[in-house]
């Protein structure tokens, strides 16, 4: 399942996605679908999921559900019954996807709003009319706090999470972290991005400003802990909670570095990335600035790669998606500088997001990619990774990217036959 496919006529069973609560209602109203969905849930509830999913009934259930609206239903951030929607989504997708993936599809509908909408509203809301570029010299983070304090809703919710997160329980218990996280989630869910982004992503010229930015989420309660868990353990913990799992998947979908776009972001949409970053605050995976250096923007969840065993590379890759992510960094800087990327009109119908596998752009001369002649399927050779031995290694994935003229070869021969020479 993957984000929305190109609009236009129903091509090969494609239909506009509905939210999963609605899809569930549609399915429940249709006996065949509802019985299969019940079957799938039983298949997933079984102790050994893979064995269960392999049996005929479960397979049949999956086949039917792939044709139902449940197959590509989505959810919206902040919608009513968001959690219920996500629970339905994951109940389907844990069945469809066999096992854990490094990147999971985001259950949320792609964000179409852009940062520039936020800049306009930010100056209106804050009543300061301050053009972000003008206030670059002043302490943006302090201005953001002022804008919030002058708005009753923002002030109330900000004060609420601060007083909860700042309340010491006992000499040994710094605060009530669960309540703090809940209050933070409410703040970021209920206060418009025009206020929350300004406090979270303000750009700084000095350390005091950067420290204020780092302190926005009261890290001593919501973020830091006595010890740093292993990042993969933290990810597993997050994935046991549907909401956290969804926010992490959404972050990966919107912020994962892509080498094939102008901004480094999968859909060139900084707003989508910043929104999904903020969406993780108040969960186990809460990210924050790692220090108060004004310009070096490095954010990370509270975890390390110690104790990864053989998964150290996967752990470091997970961590780099935060600490060395050009898309996220560009998005934060763009917001801080009050700029948004202006894109020349793309093929508007083609809104599909980036494929999950991050592939460097194959070094094809640009013109070649347009000269397609029908009937010839072309696969360009662009990579052959880890073609190493299978058994002894962790060659979980061998990656090849092919450009290949149509031809035929003789199986079993070591010799390679010239193209078009026939068998």
């Amino acid at each position: 399942a993957s984000p929305s496919s190109p609009q236009g006529p129903e091509l090969h069973g494609w239909r506009p996605p509905v939210d999963c609560v609605r899809a569930n209602e549609l399915c429940a109203a249709e006996s065949n679908c509802s019985s299969r969905y019940r079957t799938l849930r039983q298949c997933l509830a079984g102790r050994d999921r893979n064995t269960m999913l392999a049996n005929k009934e479960c397979q049949a259930a999956l086949e039917v559900l792939q044709e139902s609206p449940l197959y590509d239903c989505r959810c919206k951030r902040g919608m009513k019954k968001e959690l219920q929607c996500l629970q339905i989504y994951w109940s389907i997708h844990l069945g469809l996807n066999e096992g854990e993936e490094f990147y999971e599809a985001s259950p949320y509908e792609p964000v179409t709003a852009r940062l520039s909408d936020i800049f306009r509203l930010a100056s209106i809301f804050s009543g300061t009319g301050a053009d972000p570029a003008v206030s670059a010299k002043s302490n943006q983070c302090l201005d953001a706090a002022k804008a919030c304090n002058l708005n009753d809703n923002c002030k109330k919710l900000r004060s609420s999470y601060i007083s909860i997160c700042n309340r010491e329980i006992s000499p040994t218990e710094r605060c009530n972290r669960r309540k703090c996280h809940k209050a933070l989630r409410q703040f970021f869910d209920r206060v418009p991005g025009e206020y929350t982004y300004r406090m979270l992503f303000c750009s700084c010229q000095d350390q005091a400003c950067a420290e204020r930015r780092r302190q926005t989420i009261l890290p001593s309660c919501s973020y830091e802990d006595k010890e740093k868990p292993n990042c993969l353990d933290l990810r597993s913990l997050c994935r046991t909670d549907h909401l956290c799992r969804s926010r992490l998947a959404d972050f990966h979908a919107n912020c994962r570095a892509s080498y094939r776009t102008l901004t480094g972001c999968p859909t060139d949409n900084y707003q989508a990335c910043l929104g999904s970053y903020a969406g993780m605050i108040g969960f186990d995976i809460t990210p924050n600035y790692v220090d108060s250096s004004p310009t070096g923007i490095v954010v990370s969840p509270w975890c390390s790669c110690r104790g990864s065993g053989n998964m150290e590379e996967e752990c470091e890759k997970f961590l780099r998606d935060f600490t060395e992510n050009p898309c996220l960094r560009n998005a934060i800087q763009a917001f801080g500088n009050g700029t948004d990327v202006n894109l020349s009109p793309q093929n508007p119908s083609f809104q599909a997001t980036q494929a999950p596998r991050v592939e460097k752009t194959p070094s094809l001369p640009d013109d070649l990619s347009d000269s397609t002649s029908l009937g010839t399927s072309v696969i360009t050779t662009c990579t052959s990774v880890q073609e190493e031995g299978l058994k002894a290694n962790n060659s979980k994935e061998l990656s090849m990217c092919f450009t290949e003229l149509t031809t035929s070869i003789i199986p079993g021969s070591k010799r390679v036959v010239k193209p078009n020479s026939g068998p």
Binding site: T353, G389, K396, M400
Partner: protein
């Protein structure tokens, strides 16, 4: 057309790999897209080749089903028989994925391709090989499709790194192999460099790319004693509270598997002792930490396991015994040779604690002292060291009718505090010396210690100023503070503490019954008996108006300017010094 070779390293020399393809092509997020009608594999050599062209309509169908991404990325699964893994159970090391990114464009002229693309895969090379495996081939440099589609291109490869390294590249087959079994505990990362000299017509160029190899760990190292220490001794005397760490021993393991998520479950520790009492009294706490160990001039990751022997219950002071305990540490994943088991030894002496009070106590007190004035502290020997030992202090009256004092026990530091409990006796001239016996009793053993206690009353009694508040804390200026007494004042007069005036500070100005004990950020056992004694330390559930920092659970930790309190209303105020003028001038009539 040949695509690539899938290689398989053996677990044991006699193994012969046989390759099988999964039925389906998968798309983004592991969704099943289509039957695999296009790619085949040679069962014996592992050569993947394109058996049927992927025409445009198939490409479009796959692309639509895959979410319509501009770049169609699909993968298929290669299984190594005889492992009978199902399609949905593609797990390393018995199964691997081969990703294809299929671009809807025609193949460029060979001359147009950059040398880098003619030589190496665009994503770069990176290998992970498990240690302790027989040597074998794990890569071959030639890009088969390039070789197939650009026969005029010749490429020669070399692996730079010197003879000492465990890898070799065969000049003819360009196959890269390990020369001997790798040992992660010696080295876990190799940063080699591969070079390719490519000739296209007259043009020749050399390209270099990194060739990193990570060695995967196996549990092939048994646990050992860190620094050779397998035994430690410890004494339990004054610290007898449940949770007290009695002793720690550390175990070193050269491995880093199993990883943190599984380690606690698979690396077990069992407390052994012939003494049932010991098994109930102690428990073991295990905390593993990754560390770096030196190996051949570089560092590799390893693990240090801390085993802490901890009191599982509080011990009465009468308990006295010597016990020997062992902790059986079992690295259950260790594959041998031999057992991954070691034994840690803890020799613990539990000493009894006897209660001893000084031979005699004598204190002086003013006849003007107000109720709850603190006269002095009593404490059995080493009481400051105690934890988990509950001593209760009582006062027994020796002299007949001059009962003025009381005793209260402070749990935190196991001391007793002598205080004025009834001021009436202080006024009677006949009560000049108060004789008591202080008794210290330990619960649950009921063991006791006693000592005579003499309090000499000094000065003359003075009646309380009319109109003075019950609590010193109410006054917010020095004059009104020092002209009144208040509960808890030993001299009968409150004391003004002049603060440092530096913003919100612990050293705020305030009126106190006794600056020695209040405010000190701690609501002690006497102060907590009446809210009027020291609200600055003890206010709870009320409100503090003005610049302040609340105490941990009660009281004022820091205040701005002058802090005064109204205990009845459960309110304190902290206001700057200069705002002591009338709260309201004529403007606000």
């Amino acid at each position: 057309m040949p695509l690539l070779y899938v290689h398989a390293l053996q677990d044991v020399p006699e193994e012969v790999p046989s390759f099988r393809l999964g039925q389906h092509l998968y798309g983004a997020y592991r969704t099943r897209l289509h039957e695999n009608d296009w790619v085949r594999i040679q069962e014996d050599t592992g050569l993947l080749y394109l058996n049927r062209s992927l025409d445009h309509s198939s490409w479009e169908k796959l692309s639509i089903r895959n979410g319509g991404f501009p770049l169609l990325t699909v993968y298929l699964q290669v299984f190594l028989s005889p492992a009978s893994l199902r399609e949905s159970e593609c797990q390393w090391p018995g199964c691997a994925r081969v990703y294809f990114s299929i671009i809807n464009a025609s193949f460029p002229a060979c001359g147009a391709l950059k040398p880098r693309d003619l030589c190496f895969p665009e994503m770069g090379l990176s290998f992970r090989i498990r240690e302790n495996r027989p040597p074998g081939t794990f890569h071959q440099f030639r890009l088969l499709p390039v070789q197939f589609l650009c026969p005029n291109v010749s490429a020669a490869y070399r692996l730079l790194g010197g003879e000492s390294l465990p890898f070799r590249c065969a000049v003819d087959s360009l196959e890269v192999s390990t020369r001997w079994a790798l040992d992660r505990e010696k080295r876990e990362k190799y940063e080699l460099v591969a070079t390719c000299t490519v000739r296209v017509g007259a043009r020749e160029e050399e390209v270099m790319v990194p060739f990193p190899v990570t060695v995967y760990d196996e549990d092939d190292s048994a646990p050992s004693f860190l620094g050779g220490v397998d035994t430690t001794s410890a004494v339990v005397e004054f610290k007898r509270k449940e949770g007290t760490v009695v002793a720690t021993l550390r175990v070193f393991d050269a491995d880093v598997v199993p990883a943190s998520g599984e380690l606690l479950r698979r690396y077990t520790s069992t407390l052994l002792s012939g003494d049932a009492w010991a098994l109930q009294t102690f428990r073991v706490e295990h905390s593993p930490n990754e560390t770096l160990a030196q190996a051949n001039g570089s560092f590799v990751r390893a693990t240090v396991h801390d085993y802490r022997l901890v009191l599982n219950r509080s011990l009465p002071i009468s308990e006295s015994r010597a016990v020997q305990l062992a902790v059986l540490v079992n690295d259950s994943d260790f594959q041998g040779p031999g057992e991954g088991v070691i034994l840690l030894h803890f020799n613990v002496s539990v000493l009894p604690v006897s209660l001893r009070l000084p031979s005699t106590y004598s204190f002086a007190a003013s006849r003007r002292a107000r109720r709850f004035a603190q006269i002095g502290k009593v404490c059995v020997e080493n009481c400051q060291e105690f934890s988990g030992i509950h001593v209760q202090y009582k006062l027994q009256l020796s002299s007949a009718n001059c009962s003025a004092l009381g005793m209260v026990t402070s749990a935190e530091d196991t001391t007793g505090t002598l205080f004025v409990n009834d001021t009436e006796a202080l006024q009677r001239p006949e009560c000049a010396q108060l004789q008591y016996t202080v008794v210290a009793v330990e619960r649950p053993t009921r063991r006791q210690a006693q000592a005579p206690l003499l309090v000499t009353l000094e000065g003359t009694y003075v009646a309380e100023e009319p109109g003075c508040p019950l609590s010193c804390a109410v006054s917010k200026r020095r004059p009104e503070c020092e002209e009144c007494g208040g509960l808890g004042s030993p001299t009968g007069r409150c004391e003004w503490r002049q603060g440092d005036g530096k913003g919100i500070t612990r050293n705020f100005s305030t009126c106190s019954p006794s600056i020695k004990t209040c405010p000190d950020g701690h609501c002690d056992a006497v102060e907590s008996r009446d809210a009027n004694i020291c609200p600055q330390d003890c206010l709870r559930g009320g409100s503090i108006i003005g610049g302040h920092e609340p105490g941990e659970r009660r009281g004022i930790k820091a205040g701005f300017g002058i802090c005064n309190c109204f205990p009845e209303e459960k309110k304190c105020f902290c206001e700057p010094e200069d705002s002591r003028g009338p709260l309201c001038d004529e403007l606000c009539r």
